[in-house]
Symmetry: C2
Subunit: 353 residues, 2 copies
């Protein structure tokens, strides 16, 4: 058995570490108060079984040293997780996602949970790395809006015991709670309204086919056409636009067809805004409808039919679902069966000319 490999601490008295005011540890506080680390720990955690006088000495020492308990060490010891929740989205600059983030945080913050953001920028590989990193960091849960249908990384995380909640898209290939919007119904209703107004040739502008919401909304659009006995002319369907300027070009193309549509339905706010610009530029009288509300939608000087829903609630609901799967939380009277699937209802709103 070898001797002591390490030199013992140098002298006594100085705060052990060389750092001037870097970080005071519990033992620093204890030493300064002339007690053991244990007693100091008790005081700082408001354990009642401490002599009042001792308590004051320790508190004074802690204050003097500017002591902050090291949450890292504390959590490691308690094994209760990190108090962190990962939020994985594609583009935080999109108001839709920033509202989601805010909704999530508003629900989790009161529970002492912090939200760490992960922006994937539509990149599946980035999403994979992100999720892996979050799992390694031992987050208490993940709320994600996955980019596509390949969700094996999320399934893996869930399998490893990390609660996963999906927002705006359902889990694919594994079980998890999720909050959705009634994409199909909303799109169908909006399209039906255009039809009711006499439109027979209705164009569709939407996100790439890989995006769940986009395809659901496309289904809704087609369903409305079918119900009305209208043909589904594929020339009128343009998928793949992610940014307004792409949507503007696609809309312009549709308007340039020999038999141009008399109305457009857009599957999200990026496409609606792009289509609006196209209509405006060409002074076209084409009717416009779209999914998602957005600021100033009422001020565009154009009649506009929008499918709206409570976008804040989307984030809050996701946060609540996740909270249920988190350890150490108020045991619900009736623990709902997982996986749960919430669907937010939509509403049609007419913005005036």
């Amino acid at each position: 058995m070898p001797g002591t490999p390490h030199e013992p601490e140098s002298g006594a008295g100085a705060p052990r570490s060389g750092r001037p005011s870097g970080k005071a540890t519990l033992r620093d506080v204890a030493e300064r108060a002339g007690v053991s680390a244990m007693t100091a720990s008790r005081v700082l955690r408001d354990d009642p079984r401490v002599h009042p006088a001792t308590r004051d000495r320790v508190r004074a020492a802690a204050a003097a040293l500017g002591y902050r308990p090291n949450e890292l060490a504390r959590r490691l010891r308690l094994g209760r997780g990190t108090g962190l929740v990962g939020l994985v989205v594609t583009n935080l600059a999109n108001p839709f996602y920033s509202r989601l983030a805010l909704g999530v945080d508003s629900v989790l913050a009161p529970d002492g949970l912090k939200t760490v953001i992960g922006n994937t920028g539509q990149d599946l590989d980035a999403e994979r790395d992100l999720v892996a990193d979050l799992v390694a960091r031992r987050v208490d849960g993940i709320i994600a809006v996955p980019v596509g249908n390949d969700q094996r990384h999320l399934a893996a995380a869930a399998a490893e015991g990390v609660p996963v909640v999906l927002a705006s898209r359902p889990p694919e290939g594994f079980a998890a709670d999720c909050v959705l919007v009634d994409d199909f119904g909303g799109a169908r209703d909006a399209t039906a309204r255009l039809i009711a107004r006499g439109h027979r040739r209705i164009g569709f502008l939407g996100s790439p086919p890989t995006v769940y919401t986009g395809t659901e909304r496309l289904r809704g659009y087609r369903s409305a056409l079918a119900e009305a006995g209208l043909p589904a002319d594929e020339r009128y369907v343009r998928q793949g636009q992610t940014q307004p300027h792409q949507a503007e070009r696609a809309a312009t193309e549709l308007l340039g067809l020999p038999d141009p549509p008399t109305a457009l339905f857009c599957s999200n706010n990026r496409n609606t805004i792009g289509a609006f610009r196209a209509l405006r530029a060409t002074r076209s009288a084409t009717a416009l409808a779209g999914f998602d509300d957005f600021e100033l939608a009422d001020a565009l000087g154009l009649p506009l039919t929008l499918v709206t829903y409570d976008s804040d609630e989307l984030g809050r609901a996701a946060g609540r679902l996740l909270r249920n799967h988190t350890r150490d939380h108020p045991p619900e009277p009736t623990p709902p069966p997982s996986p749960q699937r919430l669907v937010l209802t939509t509403e049609l709103v007419e913005y005036g000319a």
Copy 2:
């Protein structure tokens, strides 16, 4: 000297913990591979000094167990911080702040730093708690847009050794890097342009006086008036509007004055949008100018003069400044002197009718 207080581990072989697939530890992997924890650690960290055969065995064991290194323990041991950066803002739903968040994250993520969001909702107490919590969590730094001039909590954090970078507002009462926008110059230029167009009575709509940017922009507005020899009529100045509907009301009041202003300058996009609604509702021909660009500003059917700047760069610059103060990072050729103060330039943009 007392004996062993704790019972030794039960048997041998089973993964120590009762959790089925809860969390495999390094020692679980080591046992399964028939090596010591140290060797397993080396393999998983790609330390070259391991026998290839052993390496493979360990890797196989790790894969079989779905092993993930516990970042918590790892960071605690390495003492290198948490790899987390706190972002403190007032309202993530405001596009301004979400872009900031995205900019920050885009710069920090490549360095393996994750951004944890903190939304204060304009509440100073919340901001205090938030900062304290972030410090306790041992974040590697804090980027903040403080609500007011009372920044003692941030000063305390900085004093405790947590790098602090302010965005959009300068540090008050302590030293810290910051990224600002040329609030004064931008506001002065916009106001001057209104004056150049012949306006003599120009109203001002802005945030509460406690908000730094608001008062700077007010100063700029007043400076332009003074330079032109115009009187500073306080009846034309309305501060305190945070939301568009408040701004709309304030604008309506100004327009109802006996001698109403013929132009309005708004200190931020919330106020500009509110003012726009007021003008639109009253069909007023009052000219409009404002600070901050925003989506669809060009589509309002009204001439609009806006002070714009690179809002993404604001976040990126803040992220870069913080990164410089973070341990273990590429030593800059010329370590810039702190505290640094960056000021982003502004530009006037005219949106057509």
